[in-house]
């Protein structure tokens, strides 16, 4: 592993991160996300979540800002994926779940009874840990959400395909074989295809559940580059096991432990000077 984090709690220096020389990544000077540029997109209010009788999320309260990357980190089983999947109500596919509290997107509750859940999901794109392209052509995969929304005009569909694939940095590689099966792509390409599919309908929010955990380092780097570009247009929430990844790409980080939100702050603060001891123990690797 060539990635190392020089971390010294007493030093308040900017963290230098080594990268494998063969992979080039953007690492410009990021403007520090300040309170003024924080406009809340997703708000989680007093949120408790149960699988049957088993409570897995305890009184979660935080806000995720618009057009920035929020990382949710924590050890296995702490409820990160559960929270992510609740934002677009995917957990309702499981029997016997219920919640207390609310999740609001731009002030509107996702649990509004007058709102059809499919409408919510159309405005939110999701990328899963294991890439799941449909056994259809690449073209059909991308336009799936548009088709489900009823879009039939070929011009609109073609444009959406090109835009999404370009945004996902996949256009050059597949533009000549859009009619081929999506299953003929490599692992990294498939995940980028899933990202393209998730953004095809131009949602406002992009949820990513450990998108790189099944990929090799080169594909991972490509996707991290992508996320950096995408955050100009989308609000991104990413769940990751990989702390270094969170440190690299996110603006804000939430640290969860055993279903409770321990700390939520700027990524830099979390990794350099966290407020909570538990956070410090986790990011320094004292427990994993």
């Amino acid at each position: 592993m060539n990635d190392t984090i020089e971390l010294n709690i007493e030093e308040k220096e900017h963290v230098m991160i080594d990268k494998t020389p063969s992979v080039k990544t953007h690492q410009p000077d990021r403007a520090q996300p300040s309170e003024e540029t924080f406009s809340a997109c997703i708000q989680v209010k007093d949120y408790h979540f149960y699988y049957g009788d088993n409570r897995v999320l305890f009184d979660v309260n935080f806000e995720m800002p618009e057009r920035q990357v929020t990382a949710i980190i924590g050890p296995s089983g702490c409820g990160k994926s559960t929270l992510l999947r609740n934002i677009n109500r995917m957990n309702e596919l499981i029997d016997g779940v219920h919640h207390q509290g609310d999740i609001l997107i731009k002030g509107q509750s996702v649990y509004d009874p007058t709102l059809e859940v499919t409408e919510i999901r159309k405005r939110i794109g999701m990328v899963f840990q294991k890439s799941n392209p449909f056994p259809k052509s690449i073209y059909e995969n991308i336009i799936y959400s548009l088709r489900m929304a009823g879009e039939k005009r070929k011009s609109v569909l073609d444009e959406a395909v090109e835009t999404s694939l370009k945004a996902a940095a996949l256009w050059e590689e597949v533009k000549d074989r859009l009619e081929e099966s999506a299953l003929s792509l490599s692992g990294g390409q498939m995940q980028r295809l899933c990202i393209a599919r998730a953004i095809a309908n131009q949602p406002e929010i992009l949820l990513m559940d450990e998108p790189c955990s099944a990929l090799d380092p080169i594909a991972t780097a490509k996707i991290e580059e992508l996320i950096y570009e995408l955050k100009k247009d989308f609000t991104i929430v990413i769940v990751t096991h990989n702390m270094q990844q969170a440190a690299r790409i996110s603006d804000w980080t939430a640290f969860f432990y055993l279903g409770k939100l321990i700390e939520f702050n700027n990524t830099k603060k979390i990794f350099v000077n966290p407020d909570q001891k538990q956070t410090e123990d986790y990011v320094t690797g004292r427990f994993g």
Binding site: T118, R121, N132, P135, K136, Y144, L183, R197
Partner: protein, 563 residues
């Protein structure tokens, strides 16, 4: 250090893997099963195709001392040779020689003369066996084949050609072709044209009856109907006259032949279907005739109480019924499986339904036949008759067995297979794919329609293949709901409305049963039984191959690796 490690691990070189001999047992089991199937198929194939191969005709002269045939001659095809069984062997014979006494079964034809087709003869009584070149095997419309020596062709215009003339054979061939052509024309006139007119006439009669049942007598409408009827009657008379004239032509000529025993017989040329000189034919000619016989078997209608002719109506009926059954069972079964697996809350009720469906697969098929009779034929059919075909009553239209009710009954029989296969296929669609679809904003039905069903299609088709194979081979329920020994017409023909779903039909499976057990001449029917069995197997294999082909195409398109 290294020396210490070297001797610490010891592998037992004499041990053998446990259970190795079971590889041989399982291999043997498979070989036994495959061997039995091949043997069965081979037996049916050989005995089934044997009936079509043209065979030589022997002319046998009996010794003067022979019991009943002393000094006489008889001609026939040798069909069986065996030792004399159950016959009393005279003591003198037994002490004189130690040779086996054989007897031959001959197909002697000429049922109109002898009354039977097959007979056993003692070899000891035979003096001489020859294979004359000029003996002919004649296929006839009535009384089956005739085996005889041709004498002459006599036409009503006075023309006579004797068999020793060089162009006799050519002339006979031409006559047979002409007769065949005329029979085809007669069939077109009688079945199609007169049939259409009869149908229209019966519709008009029903309309008149409906009008007559109304309260006020509608004179004008009745007279319109009478006029239409008159026009149709005139057409009928013209056509009937044409047919009659053609039938007369078929009688204007006679074929005279001589049996081996010396008697002369004559038949009208209309009775001739075909002929061949079996002892003169080369292997290629025999092969040509073999193929021709097979073609006739597949394409012609049956004659002589199903012991002669072809089985085309049975093939057609089986095929149409299987297709109708598949069309009925697929949507029904697939939708039921979708509800059970996707929409229903998985609890006690759903589990009981699933158990009930599985048990339905074990119900004896005749029970389905009885259910079909009671529900489809009497209840539904009777109601349809009362509502739509009132005028025809008491003659039932849909209130009696027919191809529609048979197809629906068999669809019920095979629906458990389709439901189980579809459920398995749907359950094996990976969860990730469904989640991806929901995350894209699709509703539950959209996910089922666009993602789940296409991915499950190969499994569904497997279920359909099993259903078709089961349905095409069930005979017992069909006997109650619409299969007959001889159907006057096909369920699909050129007369509007083209699909006659209320008609009774013929079925290959029932045909086999009928030939084997209900036929007046079991020896003559035996070869037909094998041939029809072979045909039924071939038809089911063909249907299955078609479905397998479609399944492979779909599998390549939607390669998920699950099915």
């Amino acid at each position: 250090m290294a020396n210490q490690i070297k001797s610490s691990i010891s592998f037992n070189k004499n041990a053998r893997a446990v259970g190795e001999p079971f590889v041989w047992f399982s291999g043997m089991g498979l070989a036994l099963g495959v061997g039995m199937i091949l043997f069965l198929l081979g037996l049916i194939f050989i005995k089934g195709t044997d009936v079509f191969w043209p065979k030589s005709v022997a002319l046998i002269e009996f010794k003067d001392t022979a019991a009943s045939y002393g000094g006489k001659k008889i001609a026939g095809i040798i069909t069986k040779t065996q030792q004399k069984i159950g016959r009393v062997i005279l003591e003198t014979q037994a002490s004189q020689d130690s040779t086996d006494h054989m007897e031959w079964q001959l197909f002697i034809g000429n049922k109109d003369v002898y009354g039977y087709n097959f007979k056993f003869f003692d070899v000891d009584d035979m003096a001489k066996v020859t294979y004359p070149k000029d003996i002919v095997n004649i296929e006839r419309l009535e009384y089956g084949n005739a085996i005889a020596f041709p004498v002459m062709l006599k036409f009503d215009n006075g023309e006579t050609i004797t068999s020793d003339q060089s162009f006799f054979r050519k002339r006979l061939n031409e006559t047979v072709r002409t007769v065949e052509q005329r029979w085809k024309e007669i069939k077109v006139i009688e079945k199609k044209q007169i049939g259409a007119i009869n149908l229209k006439l019966s519709h008009l009669s029903l309309k008149a009856k409906a009008l007559a049942n109304q309260s006020g007598v509608n004179e004008k409408a009745l007279s319109v109907i009478q006029d239409q009827k008159r026009v149709l009657e005139e057409q009928y008379q013209t056509l009937a006259a044409n047919a009659r004239a053609l039938r007369e032509l078929q009688k204007k000529g006679h074929f005279i032949y001589k049996l081996a025993s010396g008697e002369t017989h004559e038949i009208v040329i209309g009775n001739l279907i075909g002929f061949h000189y079996p002892n003169q034919m080369s292997w290629f000619q025999k092969f040509g005739l073999f193929c021709q016989h097979i073609w006739e078997f597949l394409s012609q209608d049956p004659r002589e109480a199903n012991t002669e002719g072809g089985v085309f109506p049975a093939i057609f009926g089986t095929f149409v019924m299987t297709v109708l059954m598949s069309l009925a069972v697929t949507p029904f079964g697939v939708l039921a499986a979708i509800y059970l697996r996707e929409y229903a809350k998985q609890g006690l009720l759903v589990r009981s339904v699933r158990i009930a469906v599985n048990n339905l697969a074990g119900v004896p098929s005749i029970v389905f036949g009885v259910f079909g009779l009671g529900f489809f034929v009497y209840f539904v059919g009777g109601t349809i008759d009362r509502l739509f075909f009132k005028e025809a009553l008491p003659t039932p239209t849909f209130g009696t067995g027919g191809i529609l009710w048979a197809a629906l009954t068999l669809a019920l029989l095979t629906v458990p297979v389709v439901i189980v296969a579809t459920e398995e296929a749907i359950a094996s669609v990976p969860r990730g794919m469904r989640e991806g679809s929901f995350a894209c904003g699709a509703s539950k039905w959209q996910t089922i329609q666009h993602i789940v069903l296409p991915a499950a299609a190969p499994g569904i088709l497997t279920g359909l293949i099993l259903a078709m194979a089961r349905g095409a081979s069930e005979v017992a329920p069909l006997m109650l709901v619409g299969v007959v020994k001889l159907a006057p017409n096909l369920p699909l023909d050129g007369i509007f409305p083209f699909f006659h779903l209320e008609r009774k039909f013929m079925h290959l499976g029932f045909h086999i049963y009928d030939l084997g057990f209900q036929s007046p001449d079991s020896e003559a029917a035996k070869p037909m039984v094998f041939a029809t069995t072979l045909l039924l197997i071939a038809l089911v294999v063909l249907l299955n191959l078609g479905a397998i082909f479609i399944r492979e195409r779909i599998r390549k398109k939607y390669a998920t690796g699950a099915f």
